[in-house]
């Protein structure tokens, strides 16, 4: 039974793996095609089934009108995502710690309500806020700037940081910070000297989620920028014309997906050690 079970298990895993990697392989194949290869039905293997062309890749770095110049949006995306993630993580971690250790009460509003207020920001579909955000950023002259996007992204990412870190801190015994206070720390000192140094796993997960959701957001980046501060997803979608250059688009997609895919390796490492344990509950 053990053997058949193993074979079946591996087969299932391989099927899922195939499902997971298929779109990437398809995009890889497409990125080496030209118009004829795209329009003549499904073709998979370069050289065998179609004559490969590198125009999809060269167009990303070429200058001139066909060059899509991937570099600037890439850097923009990286700055906005990193800055917003850092701010969200910082504020969110403090708030989550407060929510997990103290009880707040203003009128009928209690801790759970405050936590819900944070989380509920995620319930709102982005379209709801597009125009108000536009007007707000216009008022502070932050449209089409990295600063403006960071402001908006903080609103998007803060709930995630609060959610993950609240769960994480719940898994750190409160006796630990009490101990620190008994040993002479102020409450704030206890947090920075003792709790924070023991929160790496939670910070990694929360940070990772912030990066993922920040990097992948499309809508706000789309509405709130004009020409100066293009982000990656917007840049990619700008290739989605009626006559789409599928080859460039596929190559672009693969490049934009790579940095975060590398995060998967880091996450796996943490997970295997069991150190993400407390981060979700």
């Amino acid at each position: 039974m053990g053997r058949t079970y193993h074979i079946i298990k591996y087969l299932c895993l391989l099927v899922w793996t195939a499902f997971v990697v298929f779109p990437f392989l398809w995009a890889l194949s497409t990125s080496f095609k030209d118009a004829n290869a795209v329009t003549s039905g499904a073709r998979y293997l370069p050289w065998v089934e179609f004559e490969p062309s590198v125009q999809g890749w060269t167009s990303l770095f070429a200058s001139g009108s066909q060059g899509i110049n991937i570099v600037t949006p890439f850097l923009n995306s990286a700055s906005v995502t990193l800055l917003a993630s850092i701010v969200s993580l910082g504020l969110g971690t403090l708030a989550a710690y407060g929510l997990s250790r103290y009880s707040y009460k203003v009128g009928f509003v209690k801790n759970s309500d405050i936590t819900f207020f944070f989380i509920s920001q995620r319930i709102m579909p982005p379209i709801v806020l597009a125009i108000p955000f536009f007007l707000m950023l216009k008022e502070i002259q932050a449209l089409d700037t990295i600063f403006g996007l960071v402001i908006v992204y903080v609103a998007l990412l803060l709930p995630i940081a609060v959610w993950v870190m609240t769960d994480f801190f719940a898994s750190i015994p409160k006796e630990l910070d009490e101990m620190a206070m008994i040993d002479g720390c102020t409450p704030i000192g206890a947090f920075f000297r003792v709790v924070l140094p023991n929160s790496t796993a939670g910070l990694v997960v929360a940070g990772m989620f912030c990066l993922i959701f920040g990097w992948n957001d499309f809508f706000f980046a789309f509405i709130l920028t004009f020409t100066e501060t293009q982000l990656l997803p917007v840049a990619i979608v700008s290739l989605n014309s009626s006559v789409t250059p599928w080859w460039s688009l596929s190559a672009f997609a693969l490049i934009s997906v790579t940095p975060l895919a590398l995060i998967a390796i880091v996450v796996e490492r943490f997970m295997s050690r069991g150190s993400l344990a407390g981060a979700f509950r």
């Binding site: 299932c12 899922w16 793996t17 997971v20 298929f22 398809w26 497409t30 795209v38 039905g41 499904a42 998979y44 504020l91 969110g92 403090l94 708030a95 710690y97 407060g98 103290y102 707040y104 944070f118 989380i119 995620r122 319930i123 579909p125 379209i127 709801v128 597009a130 125009i131 108000p132 955000f133 007007l135 707000m136 903080v154 609103a155 803060l158 769960d167 409450p187 704030i188 993922i212 992948n216 499309f218 979608v237 599928w246 688009l249 672009f252 997609a253 997906v257 975060l260 895919a261 998967a264 390796i265 996450v267 796996e268 997970m271 295997s272 069991g274 344990a277 407390g278 979700f280 509950r281």
Partner: protein, 288 residues
């Protein structure tokens, strides 16, 4: 002096409030105006937008559709994510590679991957039908039939977000205490029994968290629909957020879409709260 408990909470709370307060209040105000493509301003038309909303069957149908869609996708994601997590939980050959690969889809940009998926599902030029025809199936009307489009969206959502469930559930499994398993092994419980009596109950809290978060995110489903089907064919894949987008930004009926948004928001908050409570009672058997 600032009390420590306020030092922790207030910066985030105030920041979020500062960012969100204006848009929220503004949205409420706009929902009582006739702001549209021609008339950009805050006149007051009372509850007309809300009255219109109650008769807007397209909106209510989209809500119904969304409940079906998110129920199906989240259930599939949960079951598949759990199954995958169980499969690679214990030490095994190639386990690392599997785990890394299984995580990758959630790291990718939905709007970009949806574009790729659209080419995959292209009915005459895409590989989906091509591969199926090799085993004698097809052609499947992926994006041109109501059922096909619905299934395509579900497939992409499952592809994209099963890793999220997988990650949370695997992290939970890895951290499970060992004692209950020893006890079950001593009792000679079968694997299935061990799962239902030990693993599943122990995983209940994390499961609820994961399901709720996924439900929240799944309700906003937008990028996939936007790219793959534009809500079609007909209105077969139109979700509330896409519908609000159509009304608000395509049609530029800003006032009406604000009313739609707020109605949607209230409904979602109520629904999700109820679901959270029910799950809590069902899986953990205790009150929230």
């Amino acid at each position: 002096m600032l009390k420590p408990k306020h030092f922790f909470l207030l910066p985030a709370l105030l920041t979020l409030a500062a960012i969100i307060l204006f848009p929220l209040v503004f949205t409420v105000r706009v929902s009582f105006s006739s702001w549209d493509v021609y008339q950009a301003g805050l006149d007051f038309i009372g509850g007309r937008n809300y009255a219109r909303l109650f008769e807007d069957t397209r909106f209510w149908e989209s809500l119904l559709r969304l409940s079906g869609m998110s129920l199906i996708t989240v259930t599939l994601q949960y079951v598949l994510g759990f199954a995958l997590a169980l499969a690679v939980w214990k030490k095994m050959r190639g386990g690392r590679i599997f785990r890394v690969l299984f995580l990758v889809p959630m790291m990718t940009t939905p709007v970009v991957m949806s574009v790729i998926w659209r080419t995959v599902f292209h009915e005459s030029l895409g590989p989906a039908n091509d591969l199926l025809s090799m085993v004698g199936i097809g052609p499947v009307p992926w994006l041109s039939s109501a059922a096909g489009a619905f299934i395509s969206v579900v497939i992409v959502e499952v592809w994209q977000w099963t890793p999220f469930m997988f990650l949370l559930l695997l992290a939970g499994l890895v951290s499970l205490p060992r004692e209950p398993y020893l006890a079950a092994a001593i009792d000679g419980a079968s694997p299935a029994r061990t799962f239902w009596q030990v693993t599943f109950p122990l995983m209940a809290p994390i499961s609820i968290g994961a399901i709720i978060i996924r439900l929240i995110e799944a309700s906003k489903i937008m990028d996939t629909v936007y790219v793959m089907t534009s809500g079609g064919p007909g209105t077969a894949t139109e979700t509330p957020s896409y519908y609000i987008y159509i009304r608000g930004l395509r049609d530029f009926q800003v006032g009406y879409s604000a009313a739609l948004s707020l109605a949607y928001l209230v409904l979602m908050i109520i629904t999700l709260t109820i679901i959270a409570k029910v799950l809590m009672r069902f899986l953990v058997g205790k009150e929230t």
